[in-house]
Symmetry: C2
Subunit: 217 residues, 2 copies
């Protein structure tokens, strides 16, 4: 059955790979599943047809036969459960990998989203210059803890998993802030994720959409 | 095998049920699994023994034999996957219920957390009075969308599921702000969740810890 995902017709990041379709593309590349992409304009994202698929007017969505899903984490988990390559076979290790997926989106990403909001949506406000260091400290607090846990391991719990895919994707949003580079083991962890062939294919595919060029890989 | 979760020795909310152990207690009550609770002080949460279980120094955690998990969403999903009562049997409906779990923690909760942060951690800052309406608007934006999707249904997708358990729990954090009451269908949805016997047992159990009284249920 054909898998169809949605992505921005024109990503706000211009193709840096930070739009969430990259996470889904990456998961599909890791498990070797082909997919098609339907591009959605900002206007179309707010219209009823897209809202029926994605009630919050965002991308990505995932369609496969009569199944329609939204929420990146849920889509990645769905892919990981149905195809080998993103979750361990051992039941306990599998539950721990899923724990890291939730840790990525519910513990590490919220302060990172708040930093993005402070910069993008409140960048012109009188308080932002004074407030930003507080927000950055909340991000650092989480990164301190994550860095301690990761230590000198390659991945968060054994082999690369959907938990790492989500955590690397969340941390990538920090690169432009410079904060990630304060944590050499986390910066190396992110680089390790980016160097995976599946990530590269996913990144190139979203870049091709945003530059209007076909991937060269 | 005995299930052991952790909870605050003394919850910051004094027993209003907003600490995340309530979500796990609720899930365990829905599926009829007994559990034990190990209470953790704020000091102990920062120490290596607890950090080995929960790298971010939070509660709850979940131990069952040689399995140790953290992250509320992952724990609730683990419980829902192993016991009937929180996920539909049909594979597509099950994937959609999990979608709502991720929507709760990664789409709806982040602006609600930001509002809590603005009030609790930045309540004394010069900018907070002027900034709060902006943060509240971001919360309302999400609730508008969620309210539209829910419509006059009882639950988000068919029968009550782990997705509703997580969404109701996230929305409960808004009650003191008054914002929830601006959306009668969402307020009724939350009340519907709170009226479930399993929620009441979970709420009473956490309240008993925080008042030092045994549950009367």
């Amino acid at each position: 059955m054909t898998i169809i995902i949605t992505a921005f017709e024109r990503s706000p990041d211009g193709g840096k790979g930070l739009a969430r379709d990259t996470r889904v593309r990456w998961a599909l590349e890791e498990v070797g599943q082909p997919y098609e992409v339907r591009l959605v304009s900002f206007r179309a994202m707010k219209e009823p047809a897209h809202r029926a698929l994605q009630p919050f007017g965002q991308i990505p969505t995932y369609e496969e036969g009569d199944l329609a899903l939204f929420e990146t984490g849920a889509i990645v988990l769905h892919i990981a459960e149905r195809h080998a390559g993103l979750l361990p076979v051992d039941a306990n290790a599998r539950a721990r990998a899923i724990t890291w997926m939730f840790a990525a989106v519910n513990t590490v990403e919220p302060p990172i989203l708040e930093l993005a909001t402070a910069r993008l949506l409140e960048g012109d406000k009188s308080w932002t210059k004074e407030r930003l260091p507080l927000v950055e400290e909340r991000v650092r607090n989480r990164l301190d803890q994550l860095s301690t846990r990761l230590g000198d391991a390659d991945w968060l719990d054994g082999a690369f998993s959907a938990g790492d895919l989500m955590m690397v994707s969340v941390l990538l949003r920090l690169r432009s802030s410079g904060i990630l580079d304060e944590y050499p083991n986390l910066a190396a962890y992110v680089a390790r994720g980016e160097s995976r062939p599946a990530y590269k294919r996913a990144f190139d595919a979203q870049l091709a959409v945003n530059t209007g060029k076909l991937p060269t890989g």
